[in-house]
Symmetry: C2
Subunit: 414 residues, 2 copies
């Protein structure tokens, strides 16, 4: 096998059909940004879109823009634009509110659809806010319980007993980057008579997803990671059309009402996905997401996924070649079919390694206690960025640069 | 009594100590904007603030801005800046999520604090989303009931029985502009052993509010009306310090966790108001609110309220003088102490009247079936705007201009 070198990576960049998309993003000078799986980079058209909303729609159009600028229907129109990225069609996705709130809606609706059952089954290794929200939801009724599979999900099927109403799982594990088999697991959940809620935060925009094809019941996800919607951009909820008519969710605000402007006293849910809306959407926060969806509209997800796989495969091969003997362990699956668009490495001093990489312009992130997490966003990363990352990592480890860094602190990344 | 005329109004403008503040807002040419009680006008500094967040903090600072740009703590820092407008201090207000979601948190917490009681008492004339959310909340437990006082609240005290856990009321009635006596009602609620949740949507930023002085338990409110935060800007929740330690709310996301970055499996609420946060805040939507709070920081609310009263008093006096005999009825209280910053008029063809006023550049809004609602925002409205409004209204009614307008449609205003 020939050795992988910079020239090889440059070659891959030249052959990359997505190479030109990088120019659509602002990326700071001298930074190799491998945290796009936490907060995506900014599309260049964002500023003009935001200015349009602020200067024209708000300042000039004022309250009339709820009609004339399409503000009122943003959750639905942006939902329809996002839908193709998850295999969905029109009227199946609503965009608005934070991810955690959408989880509450989806699982709440699932519990109402399985009123004879009392258990929500999830996994101990889930992104913690999902668990916290499920605790709040189940404790609130006093009638439901949260049950957790082990972090490696080895006992998941065993715990999928006939009292389980809903199963909540992450499509890609935020720690390890493991990509779960959505089709197979959804089928098992259905066999057990339960409903599934998939959390797509760490897969949407990087992985091909076909929710209807996998017969998924509910899905939720954020839009500020691979979808580049900006900090705190609105999350989404998907509801299978076959469930929409019966589904009732607990956060029943007026924008989910059948006739919101009739100002009636009683709640009556709107038809379709609209009943998963709550209230006034955060209009400014949709503009960057729309700018990003403009870009996705020019791409096929199969192509995005192909590059995502190629980037992570190159990274793993380079780690094997350049960084053996440095106490690094690859935590992510080596089988690309079972891996999302991130690679996690274990190192006893992962926090200091991340800090030392930062000083070399390579931005990654740290997950306590000892994981170094690198996200490979196919839209704006080059194969030479992967090379740069591994070269920096090798230096940080070989020269012991990390030793000059302070001890771990809990950092703020989402 | 001398007749009120344009010269008189011009005089009032010259004497107005708040007159200069108008220059801090963008107001479209030729428009008299009386819908600021629905969506406030845009402060001129908004664009620069939004650009700063987008171009510097996001595009250049990327994920690091969660720490370096103070993104993570926005709900608290902006909460502390908003607090003085409602008489509150540091650590008592969290800003984030829509109003309806904050209502759910506050009432949820109140119900947990009164676990031996089962009734939420509100009013049939409440802004409907409050009622819808309360229905969702109470139905979800299956243990609680929602009880509604008549729209005029005449039976409120009668319904305040020992099974009432929480009373939810609007400080200013969105239809009539009636300002409730917060101190007196709160005292009655407490006498009955219940907790109060005040909805400040239609009072905050226009009326003096002293939540601690009135011994209020919880309050919530939006920031896009008199606070000019822009479409869908984040709402707020206030929790009395004496309740914070025991209060638990059902939407228990990771940003409300004691140690959000420890990634533990179990939810443990943060100290203080932080436990009323859910998850990742919609960062872009805070920038305009901060621009507006910069302006409020230069003003005393007593002065704002004084002008608010003067504007609505002038309006009512001018209606009496100019529009008698036109089938107009003043719905709002004539006693300024019992009136917020809006005046509602009843007219059998209110919808057409609103449309005809629009054609004359006077923007008001319509509430089915027959109410014309005009908001008088003290920060950017002039006494001559009040004159212009009444002059236009007189013409629309005297010349029957409204008859050329189409029949009512349900319009989108919040």
């Amino acid at each position: 096998m020939t050795s992988l070198d910079l020239a090889y990576c440059q070659d891959l960049d030249r052959q990359d059909p997505l190479a030109a998309i990088r120019d659509a993003f602002v990326l700071p000078e001298g930074v190799t940004y491998l945290v796009g799986n936490s907060l995506g980079a900014m599309p260049k058209t964002v500023l003009a879109r935001v200015d349009q909303v602020v200067q024209n729609e708000w300042a000039q159009g004022l309250v009339g823009s709820w009609n004339t600028a399409g503000w009122f229907d943003k959750p639905l129109t942006v939902g329809d634009r996002l839908a193709p990225l998850i295999g969905a069609g029109d009227g199946q996705v609503a965009v608005g509110d934070p991810t955690s709130v959408n989880l509450y809606k989806a699982v709440g609706a699932a519990l109402k659809l399985r009123e004879d059952r009392t258990v929500v089954l999830s996994e101990a290794g889930s992104f913690p806010t999902d668990l916290y929200m499920l605790q709040g939801l189940t404790e609130w009724t006093g009638r439901h319980q949260l049950r957790l599979a082990a972090a490696d999900r080895s006992d998941l099927l065993e715990l999928l007993t006939p009292d389980v109403a809903a199963v909540v799982l992450s499509h890609v594990d935020y720690r390890t980057g493991e990509l779960l088999d959505m089709r197979e697991i959804t089928a098992k959940v259905h066999e057990a008579g339960a409903l599934v809620v998939w959390d797509l935060c760490h897969s949407v925009g990087a992985v091909e997803i076909d929710l209807p094809g996998c017969d998924v019941d509910f899905a939720i996800g954020c839009t500020y990671k691979y979808l580049n919607g900006g900090p705190g951009s609105p999350a989404f909820v998907y509801v299978a059309p076959r469930l929409q008519e019966q589904a009732r969710q607990p956060l029943s605000g007026w924008h989910g009402h059948a006739t919101p402007f009739a100002f009636t006293t009683d709640y009556e849910p709107a038809e379709g996905i609209s009943r998963f809306r709550i209230s006034t959407p955060a209009i400014l926060s949709y503009a960057p997401l729309e700018a990003s969806l403009d870009l996705f509209a020019t791409l096929r997800m199969a192509e995005v996924r192909r590059k995502s796989r190629a980037l992570t495969e190159l990274f793993i091969a380079l780690i094997d070649q350049e960084c053996s003997g440095f106490d690094l362990e690859i935590v992510s699956p080596r089988d690309a079919d079972r891996r999302g668009s991130q690679v996690s490495l274990r190192h006893p001093h992962a926090y200091q390694v991340v800090r030392a990489l930062m000083e070399r312009g390579v931005h990654g992130d740290f997950r306590a206690p000892d994981v170094l997490r690198l996200g490979f966003v196919p839209l704006y990363l080059r194969f030479t960025d992967v090379w740069r990352c591994v070269a920096a990592l090798r230096q940080v480890l070989a020269d012991g640069e990390w030793q000059a860094q302070p001890e771990p602190q809990l950092t703020v990344v989402t």
